[in-house]
Symmetry: C2
Subunit: 428 residues, 2 copies
Amino acid sequence: MTESIDNHPDIEISRRRLLGTVGAAGAAGLALGGVGGALTHSALSDSPAGGAPGAAGALTSLGATEVAFQGDHQAGIVTPLQAKGHVLAFDLAPGAGRTEAAALMRRWSETARRLMAGETAPNADSGIALDAGPSSLTVTFGFGHSFFERTGLAARRPTALDPLPNFSADRLDPQRSNGDLWVQIGANDGLVAFHALRALHKDAGEAARVRWQMNGFNRSPGATVSPMTARNLMGQVDGTGNPKPSEPDFDKRIFVPAGGPGPAEHSWMAGGSYAVVRRIRMLLDDWDKQPTAKQEQVIGRTKANGAPLTGGGETTEMDLNKFGGDGKPVIPSNAHARISAPEQNGGAAMLRRPFSFHDGIAADGTPDAGLLFICWQADPLRGFVPVQRKLDRGDALSEFIRHESSGLYAVPPGPRAGEYVGQRLLEG
Amino acid sequence: MTESIDNHPDIEISRRRLLGTVGAAGAAGLALGGVGGALTHSALSDSPAGGAPGAAGALTSLGATEVAFQGDHQAGIVTPLQAKGHVLAFDLAPGAGRTEAAALMRRWSETARRLMAGETAPNADSGIALDAGPSSLTVTFGFGHSFFERTGLAARRPTALDPLPNFSADRLDPQRSNGDLWVQIGANDGLVAFHALRALHKDAGEAARVRWQMNGFNRSPGATVSPMTARNLMGQVDGTGNPKPSEPDFDKRIFVPAGGPGPAEHSWMAGGSYAVVRRIRMLLDDWDKQPTAKQEQVIGRTKANGAPLTGGGETTEMDLNKFGGDGKPVIPSNAHARISAPEQNGGAAMLRRPFSFHDGIAADGTPDAGLLFICWQADPLRGFVPVQRKLDRGDALSEFIRHESSGLYAVPPGPRAGEYVGQRLLEG
């Protein structure tokens, strides 16, 4: 955790690859050597995680870009947004406990490591990703509250995993919430992402069963002229206020510190993070009927470029104390951007790294679409919870969205060489 | 139809764009002028439509690439496969007839023309595609069998639209089959595609209601080192035998000829094509349990590169008369590739241009995934039908797939300047 990113072993690997001494080769012998020079480490990108993908520089190509599996932190947290995602939870099978969970995490880690390097899966590869490079594939694993009883590890469950409070506007489906194990897959190619999903599913074998599964997407790299903060399916710039990896307190806010507060039994989480995952349905038929000016009042930012209604550009600070000629605040008191602003929440900060989702048409005839909200923080009680409490009470956006599922997961640190994800918990 | 592609007016537009005299600009004033030189006409690409996207040459960029709305044929037929797709059908609302249908096709055409040029929608743009270029967006419109009674145009309904025969293995859901109007949206960016879907939905207003809607995907441009024929979710190279636009009889096979057979009342379809659209579920849990050697026997081609089991590379002709030492044909008598080969079907040819789909987990716990099969031909009775009849009887692949929906649509020719799609039918 205290290592600087410059001294991180993963970067060495990437440097080797950049020098062309390691070629990523598909198992079918389709060498990517011709573009070996383009291999890079996405997480090195200086762009904010909330920014559009494709920012990794002119030397990269979509397929060849590789994200390191090993590291202080798991991949898929500060990795730039990917075009495709699968988010799913598994429950351990009846009778499966700590031994089976450890074996599963070992299998999953080996599969993730190989697929992220553009290799085939160890367990009878399906061939779906043949021809393609790793395409910024990331696989991220987390443990839900129930995992710890199931594995006899309740004493090592961090208090940060205590269930989230109920929010009055929640309409949560328990079937699509929580779960023992959480997996996030992201890639810039849909078949590469699906290939990983199938391989991890096969690895689960008899040890775990899928509890719920969701698909998401973001902009494709190169769709915008220059990297920009993402837009959501409401057409709104989304992610402007995200903490940036270049900020001095970024690590402290997002990752669990080594030797931090809490008993030593929780030290396995040092370098880890907590993910809050919510399926937020957008009531798009209602939203799209609102004039742009109304939408901008609800959000507190302009639609065109996400600038605060008090002026400037996207990254200009909001002037929360500016009043219009009518005596009302220019950014309304119930505007989403005002209520969720860190300065309104004791500096609470989380790294939002979502996917949009679109599952066709719901039973009521409206689009079953919205945001797979995923946010990262060192402590959910200082990140997600205080902000959501305020939003739950007074957010003008509430009438246009519906929280349909919720999960909170402890995402262990990245593995060291030879280690599997979660080993420090399961064998510590 | 008889115009050569070199003399086509669209190409002039593209040349102008290539010379940089026309810049595609987002409505928010986000000029794409800096990459104006990269604008190109995807349909000009020499790569087979069944090939991977991204083949349009070094000058292109994903976002800036634009496909022409006007032309002899609608876009989305010979356009290289796109990374994201929406396929849906509408039924005209009760009481809506020819007048309302004509007005809808006029609105839809104007929206499609603008969005494909990277402009905003005419009808209160939702903003979802702001920042992005057109990203090879195509919108393709077709008419189903029922459209003609609804609009009082039964006398102008081509016989080629007669319902497809029943196939014994079909398990069709009528709720997800057929429909008055068919729309295919494709783009290399998921938000650009969704934006178009929402805009067309809004245009429908009270005139038409969504009957069914499906989402699909293909490889992202750049995910493979060089353009390759696509793979499907079985991991199989899919599309090798597709007719190529460079072949002399391509147009004759895919597009309805001017002055062809049939009464003059059907001349509005000259330059059009017929699309067969089938949701083909893949029983992936069963498929993935088969050893690769068994999968290759089912298909008749190798998994690694799609070469026939009789040797060579992907594009080597199958040797259907080659026998192994055991006296059996090397490509089994029930292999999918043998049964569907054009030489086994009187030269029947169709242009397959599918999307993969993945809608999560079905009620039975298996993946709800497979192929949105879309094939194009001048005459379904000489393209899809004879091949599917043979596959229905003896295809070894049958036990691993399930045809769940079916539609057949008359896709009118591309519009001329100032014309809307289908105008020659609705006002002819």
